[in-house]
Subunit: 422 residues, 3 copies
């Protein structure tokens, strides 16, 4: 019977489906970007490389407004009706509680109803259904598919499938990549950028008309500027396997005059990968690789130079037997933060972490949580706001948010109001 064991013979339809899009997948990113737009508006979110500085700043601005509106009953009522007629499918065949809940919350803020399929083997797949048939089923019922998968490029293929359906006059919905294999996790990169945007606004609810926090900082750091340009960014820990490091580092190259410092062991698994090093070099970014916070660049220890520090967890669940052996010989304790290290950092330099952190390794011990530089809990909440901004943009209601915001806060200094929100 022909329905038996397909793997050892001719390719399955699932395999053929992916092959069908291979040529398009192998194109350079810049050729793909226009296909993820529709009528010049964001349609699919697949790569962090889709976002240029203008888009990042616009999204950050919308996120700020959603955040402020969410503090007041009037704003909440406005937001929750914006998209209450939309229904999203969260198709998470690779588990992730944190990303999942963040997207759920972002949807709910705008009134979007959420549905989920989280089991890697849905009952339909066991009946022989292809992945693409499943995706088309979701697109029949829902207005948006947010997907996370172990398969690299699955989200990208689904975006092409949707575009092809649209061109043949069929129903088609936006695709958001919530993490695909080891390669891309674009919304994590967006929330990291958004956290840096907020930090480097240097505004404070207590700013007086006479001096601001920025003025005070400038007396200590005369070179300091607002915004993400002209900064030194440190990345510490599992650089080699950290997909969030890859995405954030790539996005930061869009800003002027940035320096990237990677603090990782000289180990083939954990150190910067060749392809990323090459990509950054091609873009002419200033870049250093060191093995410790104490290593010096231009005579100054790295820890004292950083304008922002991005910590990561050693992803030991991805260790292979060789790694275990290598790692035993390394001094991994260098990739843990301590209160004494933090005390030497610039007074404004935010500490980020994509979370979860690992209590057994302890890359950020809890005694640092109360330091004002510790941004990692706010970072998580920022993820909710920036994802809500993304959803509003995809569904084209971002201008309504801006209008409502200006009606409500027309006469007031936006920045001061915004920083009142927590």
């Amino acid at each position: 019977m022909s329905s038996e064991s397909p793997s050892d013979q001719s390719p399955t339809q699932d395999e053929l489906d992916l092959l069908h899009y291979e040529l398009r997948i192998n194109r350079p990113v810049r050729m793909k970007i226009p296909e993820f737009l529709r009528d010049e508006r964001l349609r699919h979110v697949i790569f962090s490389g889709q976002f240029n500085v203008d888009m990042l700043e616009e999204l950050g601005g919308i996120a700020d407004k959603i955040r402020v509106l969410s503090k007041m009953r009037e704003g909440q009522d406005f937001l929750i009706k914006l998209l209450h007629h939309k229904r999203a499918m969260l198709y998470f065949t690779q588990p992730s509680t944190r990303t999942f809940l963040s997207f759920m919350s972002a949807c709910q803020i705008l009134g979007i109803t959420c549905n989920e399929v989280r089991d890697p083997t849905t009952s339909s797949e066991t009946k022989g259904e292809t992945r693409f048939d499943s995706i088309r089923m979701f697109s029949s019922y829902f207005d948006l598919i947010i997907m996370r998968s172990k398969l690299a490029r699955l989200a990208e293929s689904c975006a092409y499938l949707m575009n092809d359906l649209s061109e043949t006059g069929n129903r088609s919905v936006p695709i958001i990549n919530a993490g695909s294999g080891a390669d891309e996790h674009p919304t994590q990169a967006l929330l990291d950028i958004y956290t840096l945007q907020r930090t480097f606004q240097f505004t404070d609810p207590k700013d007086s008309p006479i001096t601001t926090r920025f003025d005070e900082l400038r007396s200590e750091y005369p070179e300091l500027t607002r915004g993400l340009s002209n900064k030194v960014y440190g990345f510490c820990g599992d650089i080699g396997r950290g997909r969030t490091v890859r995405s954030l580092a790539s996005l930061l190259t869009n800003y002027e005059n940035v320096t990237l410092i990677f603090i990782a062991p000289n180990d083939p698994t954990l150190a910067l990968k060749d392809d990323l090093r090459q990509r950054l070099a091609d873009q002419g970014v200033r870049m250093h690789e060191v093995e410790s916070f104490e290593d010096q660049i231009d005579g100054i220890p790295v820890i004292e130079q950083l304008d922002a520090l991005y910590m990561t967890r050693i992803q030991k669940e991805h260790n292979d037997p060789n790694d275990e052996k290598h790692f035993a010989e390394l001094d991994l304790s260098r990739y843990k933060l301590s209160q004494s290290l933090v005390s030497r950092m610039k007074t404004f330099a935010p500490i980020l972490h994509p979370f979860p952190r690992d209590q057994h390794f302890g890359e950020i011990p809890p005694e640092i949580d109360d330091d004002p530089r510790a941004m990692y809990f706010r970072q998580a909440r920022n993820g909710m706001w920036i994802r809500a901004a993304l959803l509003a943009t995809i569904f084209g209601v971002h201008h309504q948010i801006t209008s409502f915001f200006h009606e409500e806060y027309g006469g007031v200094n936006d920045r001061v109001r915004m920083t009142n929100a927590k």
Copy 2:
């Protein structure tokens, strides 16, 4: 202790509960139908046999209106408030992603909040709770129970339980059967009928005042009429185990002058079952059983005679060891569609499939998906609309939908507007 191993001794309460309703279950269907109504309105949905042509046409009309209203913001806002005070329990102890998501979506369109229990062993059952106690618990918290179970007749028993509760002055809620064992899946039959209703309206958004698509088709097929009557319906594949085939074939007998052709191997598992053959014969339906699309009836190959084709998957997950042996000797490739077969079908004849289709068997290869006769993806979306129409009817808000629709579209030709919706 008396709480031990109940199975080898006296009957459990669960068994007694089902026995309690045995007499009522064994009555002829026509005696039961009035019990699934309340105040002459649909209350419980248990069998496809509950629905006569008038009800099918009314439900289709409501589904059409919901579909059109859902395309506009005003209509969406109206729909989503209609039942936002109602809460549904989706109690799916037999898994089915597709039916589950379709019901979820239908509920959400009308604003109904959904809750789910999908684990076959809830924690309460492991503590010795009876199924009926679980159902009464659900009826305490929710306003509707949509249930899918491996147990034939469980949904029917629950409907009787609810009716009994109602008669003793207790709280009682409607029951919808979303598939019970091998016997019934009434809402699948409704969506199949609805897909045929829409196809056989023969209207098209591009119809001009001078000629319509129906006029053009009539020049090629002079006998063609609108509606489900006077048609030849083909069913292909796993006829014996296809519960959707059983339900749809039964409902079609309500329409005048229909011919049913079953295309299946001459095999005791896969061919038409005796009870269904007998039931159709009793109703005087014209009926043929053939082994191939190429078999001729009145000198014309079956494939060229069909006004609609219902394809099915070979349900190999239900094979027993004997089946495996039989099937190896059959030429099952005859029960796959191909582009050359489709090219010989009537130009308007819709191809349906209850989905999922099986990529390994390939009963409908993907190259057919772009053929205008391929209705199976729209069929899925139709399921959402007809289920929404069903829910609106059960909760008695269907007249509000009709009124709102006519206020909005009063002066316009309904049919043309409706076909604009996709």
Copy 3:
């Protein structure tokens, strides 16, 4: 590598986190109660001991109003908008379908959007995340955490964590204990109390202006009073392990002139535990322990003396091998109710059960379900109303409910209206 097998060495961060709150946990309850308030309003719900008679009566009054409003479309629309901007996390690492669904329903009645994590091992925990980091993540995304855990005191610790975050200017949300280990399940106690409150109002929709049900009962029971005071409460079955018995018995001591009778085998596992006996004795409550409904107190069999009977299931899933042996020698059939026993109870005395009941043991056979004294199904629904009242109180919208109720029903006798709701 330091991330390995933490258990056999230094304490994990999870262990340190719990130790951090040990001193606060070990304080007497009365010292803790103020910490579960904020601005004199209920903030966290951790113990049943938090609730005094005034709070219990106020909560019951709000629950009554929510129940009545829920019967009319106007009231439903009012309720569903009250908290539609709030999002709750139901973090149930110890499964419980019944409590879970009751909380879901309570949230939904007030428009609160629900999210859930039910898997004991979330993906983040397997990556080394601490429980407290998980809870802080939830508090980033949601406005309320309802938690059920096998760990005694986890909910209490989380309440302290939230208070500490609040004091350091961080985001903090209310915690509700939905069952923690064997020690506390405060909302179950609230629904038991609420069921008694409603029963002992002795009002009936059919009460005429001339005589009421209460008047009739007084002719039979001249000592009868309205309310929970001056009553004899019986608890039957698994008294030793019944956490609901512990909580309810404790709360009842707040009322005047109550007598508690525990009907359980003389067995170290099943009989009243020493600590509870001591606590009740310290409060000067009248208390009896008997082994059968037939045992006499002051010459009258217990079954004939009860004003309310609280039945429980033998929690055999918690048996240890010793228990099995003991239990085989006991006559457990004495702890089952029967129609003949019920017929000897006072005509108004409600029968409660925390549910699920055990069909194999049969502590309440189904033939009793139709007796007007059987309150256990209504009790479940009461749980939904009292939990909604609790949520309204925590979010400070209870006064809006009262105002809206009085606007709608200003001129009418509240009690009569309320009893019309089922």
